[in-house]
Amino acid sequence: MSIASRTVPPAVAPPAALPARESPRLRAPRARRRRWRVRPGILLASAFLLWLAAAVLTPGLLAPADPYAVDPARSFEAPGATAWFGTDDSGADNYTRIVHGAATSLYIGVGATAIGVVGGTAIGLLAGLNGRLVEASVMRFLDVTLAIPEILLALVVIGIIGGGTENAILAIGAGSIAYYARITRAQTHLVRRSGFVEAARTLGLPAWRILLTHTVPNVIKPVLVLATIGIGSAIGAGASLSFLGLGTPPPAPEWGAMLSAGRNFISNAPWMITFPAAFLVATVLSITVIGRELRRRAEGRLA
């Protein structure tokens, strides 16, 4: 997931042997339709993200019960009218916990991505705007960092600073800095050599003004678009850490931690795993789908 979503499609020339062009007669109605048709994937993803936003902002409205309430007498209840998604080993309601856990998962995803974007943009600009020596040393360091899988890097950071929600955010964010730094640096080079910066320089604008009004805004836009996709994989990474017991401590309703608690009862109460997993997958997928759409549109404009 993360690898696929992170690979920026190379700007290759179209293959020599192109498929036969469709006749204009056939193409015409299609082009017209494209203007108003929204792809169903986008629609579904947006709908789910709306629900997610509601779960984050007003969880009490979607699930009024207390996510920490246990009832041992009702443990391992199968999904049904009294508990839509069943209950867990402590008799806590799965649906309630999933709704209330959305905030934590998103908090980790957005928080970690923010750290990655801010740190990565700073390093990328530093590398892209300075001399060869600085650039080469920063980039070689980033190459080494990129060689280590993101989750492994996060584990190293957790090993040093300890577990917990905030530390997990830091760890995942730190792990993604190199990725954003590389994109920023490439984009910086592109913008630096662009006509408008060249023109500004010719007009005698001071360097800091060019940087603030022309370079940075144009560098940051595509990075932000890519960051939306990054949120999805950061949520996945956060759940992985919680699953390993290094993220959000129990019994907080966090999806990864719920998966972790459920795995020992997989043959007795599979719903303890399936529901949090389904919501995790749906969230990551939705964010990625929307992120890709944003990128597709942005690329059209930037090319």
């Binding site: 007498a73 806590a92 997989i266």
Partner: protein
Amino acid sequence: MNASVIRPARNRTRSGQITALSAVGLLALLAGCAGPASPSSVAGGEPVAGGVLDVSISAEPGCLDGHGISATQQQFLGRLIYDNVVTLDENGDIAPYLAESWGVSEDGRTYTFHLKQGVTFSDGSPWNAEVLGQNFEHMRDPATKSPLAAAYIAPYVDGTVIDEFTFEAHLAYPYTPFLYTLAQSWLGMNSGKAITEAPETLCQKPIGTGPFTVADYQPGQSISYTKRDGYDWAPEWLEGDGEALLDGVEVTLVSEPVIRHQSLVAGQYDLTENLAPQNAAAVQADPNFTYENLARTGNPYVLNFNLGRAPFDDLAVRQAFAAAVDTKAVTESLGFGTYTPIDGFLSKESKYYDPTVEGVLTYDPERANQLLDDAGWTGRDDEGFRTKDGKRLTIEVPTVESSTPSPLLVQLQGEARKVGFDLRIIQLPQAQLTELRYAGDYDALAGVWHTNTTDVLFIRYHSSEITGERIGQNSSYVNDPELDTLLSTAREADDGPVAEEAYSKAQHRLLEIVPGLPLYENPSQFAYANTLHDVAVDTSHPVPVLTYAWKAE
């Protein structure tokens, strides 16, 4: 102690084995290519020597020297490498092991052991009276940091080597459970040579007289055992002679219950020392596996309160907590029907268990609220927890860190919250937890203490067992003169009406003190593939003994 429960399980599937082997033999004959048949297969259902047994365990003690640990797994692991001075026979009576016979003086303070001759340790050094004395010293050596063995032999004052194979142990007072404790895995005999030359290596490389020796130990991962050549001193109840049949035992730490179950079913392991309750029914229903569920004796699973500090120094708060938890529902949800709820501080299978303790501590949230109101915890903060003088009613319960939270603690947390307790689960690394535990820096600790004598009540709740110079297991910090007298009387009395009366009164006194919340009895649950035969069950703790177990291929 209850002999009817801990009967060695053997020959369960031997008849099935005969059929299978005969079929293989017949097939080989028909095909006309008998080949170099192993001698054992010709013998049909006779035990087959050889092979390595793969075992999964749920936790690893971190040290293999029984004297230095109290880990439950030692019950099983210790039997592989150690022998004891005495053992319990199939009826639960003291029987010879490394001591052929023994005598107790009239006043009950001098024990004379006549030791078996010709026994050697795996480092070649001999077993004799001097070594027995060295073992007692090693157990109580402060450097051993013994959490169990030192407490069990605490009344031991000194010993005299009468001759090479006669040892006299002098006790401070008559201590009836002495021989029972000597039969337990943790008190297995270490090599005297190793104790003298390099006691610090015993954790990593323990040297015993047992049927197996440690070939390789990777802490936190695995322990490899190989058969001890020339072993010939198994206790009589094991019904075998000479060396072990298996070439070796490969023990691997598999901490995830679900993996222990799946890898057993998949055939990766032949035996699992600890089968989680949620998998019991599935394994029990599988004809290819043998599942055992055997009651343990001693102190059941209890959430022990720390009486040494607030808020559990207040009896009303302890009573309130005990009334706030629906222990029957907790037991049912955690044990999947394999756990037994318990109302007192002694397991039901223990000798001198008094059934009249049942029904005294009951689930009654209304009473819990009333007790807390009366004790002055009347305020409520913005999170709904009770307060008194602006201080929240907080209970800190440390536990070993793990990727899955202890479901028990999560349930206790939820139940206690309903009456206004803020129970905090503090996850810590094992070393830090141990430190905190013996420093008394906690409000409550969940745990069990399994042993083969009712003297467990002394070990758990007598004021002399509060950690001081020696590590003690009175983790509730109970210091009650009345209880002390009862437990001392019972400890010094011979088996009989005096001990019975004292133990009965002690059990009731504990219900008045409420040093903890009795939760449930968790039995020994293990399972193995039916290709494994003659797995015996230990007589001190119901765990598998592999000395004469064999594996049919």
